[in-house]
């Protein structure tokens, strides 16, 4: 038997890595005495399978985890799947909240294989709303957006454009709309995960590239402080949804809600984030 969980990762805990989160889950499962299945061999590990790794520093409203139960022990002890979120959430650190748990079929495809895209919201600093709108339009209009990506420790050039499924400047909040010179702007995007996942920091690199800016470092760099007009710096990132797209229909890995693929992709991401 396999159980799929959907959980969020918000606040200070966003600074922990995917591996750290896996260890938090392992401890919580042991504390809850769940009859979980272990891998065979000299070093048995709990059978947990996480989806696409979330970059350290990013928040998420849509993390998934598949957990395999030991069939014999689970049958003996009984597992109330619907009660698991309330049981496990208090055993996990602050900032990790389980939204839902449902039994799923033991399919062969891992979460990593079936997810086709992710929705993100971002907060950029060092750029005004108007400047960012120009960059977004330029990126969407471009046929090819070449950026430097790191792969297996080596830098290589890659075309970002096919991976950007949707991109828009977020609706202005009342306070910042009043000030057109404000240098904090929201961005929403849907980025493909196949064949390779695109990270939000790489999207920002693409925005800089299409605006003719220096493809300087962004996420890791410090805020621009107005020294270079219009170089966006990624300040906050949140993954709002993961999608499985099949034959023009998108669905979430767990809730089974089906939405047509279309131009509202980015806006849907905003909806979830709000």
């Amino acid at each position: 038997m396999r159980i799929r969980f959907r959980y969020s990762k918000l606040g200070k805990i966003r600074f922990t890595s995917q591996r750290d989160v896996a260890r938090m889950w392992e401890r919580a499962i042991r504390r809850a005495h769940l009859p979980i299945a272990y891998t065979e061999g000299f070093s048995p590990r709990p059978q947990l399978s996480f989806g696409l790794a979330l970059p350290t520093g990013a928040e998420s409203l849509a993390e998934y985890l598949d957990m395999a139960l030991d069939p014999v022990r689970a049958a003996e002890e009984g597992v109330d799947v619907a009660a698991l979120p309330a049981l496990l959430t208090p055993l996990l650190p602050d900032g990790i909240d389980i939204e839902e748990a449902v039994p799923v079929e033991r399919s062969k495809d891992s979460l990593q294989q079936i997810v086709t895209s992710c929705s993100w919201t971002m907060r950029l600093v060092g750029i005004t709303r108007n400047e960012l709108e120009v960059q977004v339009a330029a990126l969407l209009a471009a046929d090819v957006v070449t950026i430097m990506r790191e792969r297996k420790g080596r830098e290589e050039l890659d075309d970002l454009r096919p991976s950007v499924l949707a991109l828009a400047v977020a609706d202005a909040q009342a306070d910042s709309a009043a000030d057109p010179t404000a240098r904090t702007v929201g961005l929403v995007a849907e980025l493909s995960t196949q064949p390779r996942g695109v990270r939000p920091v790489e999207l920002v690199r693409g925005l800089i590239a299409v605006s003719g800016g220096q493809a300087d470092e962004t996420f890791e760099g410090s805020a621009a402080d107005g020294r270079s007009g219009g170089i966006p710096v990624l300040d906050r990132v949140c993954r709002t949804q993961q999608w499985i797209e099949r034959e023009g229909l998108r669905q979430e890995p767990l809730l089974g809600r089906v939405v047509p693929a279309g131009a509202d992709r980015a806006m849907h991401a905003m909806e979830r984030a709000s």
Binding site: I13, T16, D20, E26, R30, S43, P90, D235
Partner: protein, 680 residues
Amino acid sequence: MNRDMESLWPQIEPLLAQVTKPARYIGGELGAQSVEHVPDAASWLLVYPDTYEIGLPNQGLQILYEILNERDDAVAERSYAPWVDMEAAMRANGVPLFSVEHHHPAGAFDAIAFNLSAELVYTNVLNLIDLAGVPVRAADRTVDQPVVIAGGHCVFNPEPLADFIDCFVLGDGEEVVGEINEVLVAFRTDAGKAATAGPTDRADLLRALSRVPGVYVPFCYDVAWDDTTGRLAGITPRFADTPARIEKRTITDLGEWPYPRRQLVPLIEVVHDRLNVELFRGCTRGCRFCQAGMITRPVRERPADQVRTMVSAGLERTGYDEVALTSLSSADYSGIEETVTGIINDPSCGGQVSVSLPSLRVDAFTVGTAAQIQKVRRTGLTFAPEGGTWRMRQVINKLIREEDLYAAVDAAFSQGWKRVKLYFLIGLPTETDEDTLGIVTLAKQCVAIGKKYHSSVAVTASVGGFVPKVQTPFQWFGQNTIEELTRKVYLLRDAARPVRGLTIRWHDPKATAAEGIVSRGDRRMGPVIEQVWRNGGTFQEWSECFDLGLWTDALEANGMTLEDAVYRHRTEDEVLPWDHISAGLHRDFLWQDWKDALAEHGLPDCRWTPCYDCGACTGYGVEHVVASAVPPAGGSQGTGQDLSTGGQVPVRFLSTAPSGAAPAPGSGGSAVALATEGKS
């Protein structure tokens, strides 16, 4: 309670996107205490002066953290050394050192207390005091600034840090931390000040601290220098009520202190990332190079049923699947086998728990126990013969015969292990090249034994350069030079090269020299440490940051040499910088033990032989507290000595009553917190 206890999180948060491992700075561990700073309580910032991953598991710091926070008149938070990238970001943005719980600024605490476990962190201590916004030199601090405190093994030679630390605390901290807190409350809280109505300048505070037994306040002592030699002539009290010699503190019954009750479980991976339960404190094996064994005497065992309770409750609370039973020589714990079996077979432990004994004794019996407890995740076994020949091991009093080691290694390989690690020291007193090369002879034979059972085995001989430590019989020994240690390393490397399956690893002899500079230094070493720090020498324990040139430059600038500070043998009549500091060991016992070492004369464990009068028991009116008069198998360390005379030995036996049920001071009754913790 100090002013300005405001969270710095809004300033810290933007820095975290720029640094490696940002989760080092966010707190949020299971067991972290949400503390409220109230006017009547003294506030402590407990600091481990190395990275979060190294410092978080430190048991001493965690014990004091809980004991202080259980008091109504104290609050404690924790901090660790920010890595160089974070420190740079903090300094660039004017962010001071902060606590991980609430991100409070270090300078707002009443006390900043450091755990000193290694000498090479001293430059980090200065850096952290500075990062806290507090003057680095104790003499420059005002009455309102935090009191800077240090404890831990290194304080048995406090002099190199005497210029920077307000007070050093010697020995077990469980009791004395409360006594120090009472002084802080009297001098630092409004209620305390009103009650005493006495003088409240910093000198009064320091003098009050110096009256707490086990506390050394450098301010209260005069240092005299010999005009002709330039060497130390003596350290004497300036005031009538200041003790001439400061004795360490010793708790008599470990069973009364079942801490940590709520071991911290970090969000990120740290060293020793498992449940840790202390089996006993102290060791009487008498290894002459081992400072920990000398300064923590006598042996005080934790009652076995309390160990079991702490293990089962701890695993339940933390979700760890591994527990380490810690001590200086865990296989020596009375009834270790029963204790381990009990944990493995405890149904509440779920059958998925592995037990580790961090310090294995070298004998086949111990391997049998290890085989039993490492059913899962069998990685490698480590033994520490320390010396390459029997002669060498008699000198250092590590009385392991070759047969013992071979039997242990045979047992390990025959029971499925394929990797064995051996620890050795080089640069020991009287060491010859024959002794050094004996390391390869032993290791080679271990490879041959392994080949009987497996087609491919890996034996690693890990070689460290010996640094003579204070309060040990080797405190008079002149350390080997960098050149000599390097020569010995190459000797080993060349001899081991043709042996397939044998790897030699070694510690950098330059780092060994730097450790030697600080280990036995006097107050003249303060400016050296300060200069190394001012020239950027932090994290000197880390090979990527270590720079011997900083140390030798600073020595030279202060008119000293490696020759005099490190390589020179000390004489019997020489005043040692730590002579006014006592770990309970008589100086004549240590000198006799040094003479015995040079005569290649071993000294068996005093738990099961008559007393050698080292002073640790008699001086404090304490005895070794053990549960069994019979030494564990292999207890003779292979000397073949008749140890059946245990009943005549001056030890106190643990009562058989379940002392785990006895209420601990300040607790509500249950010795171990069983409550499930979660977020509120």
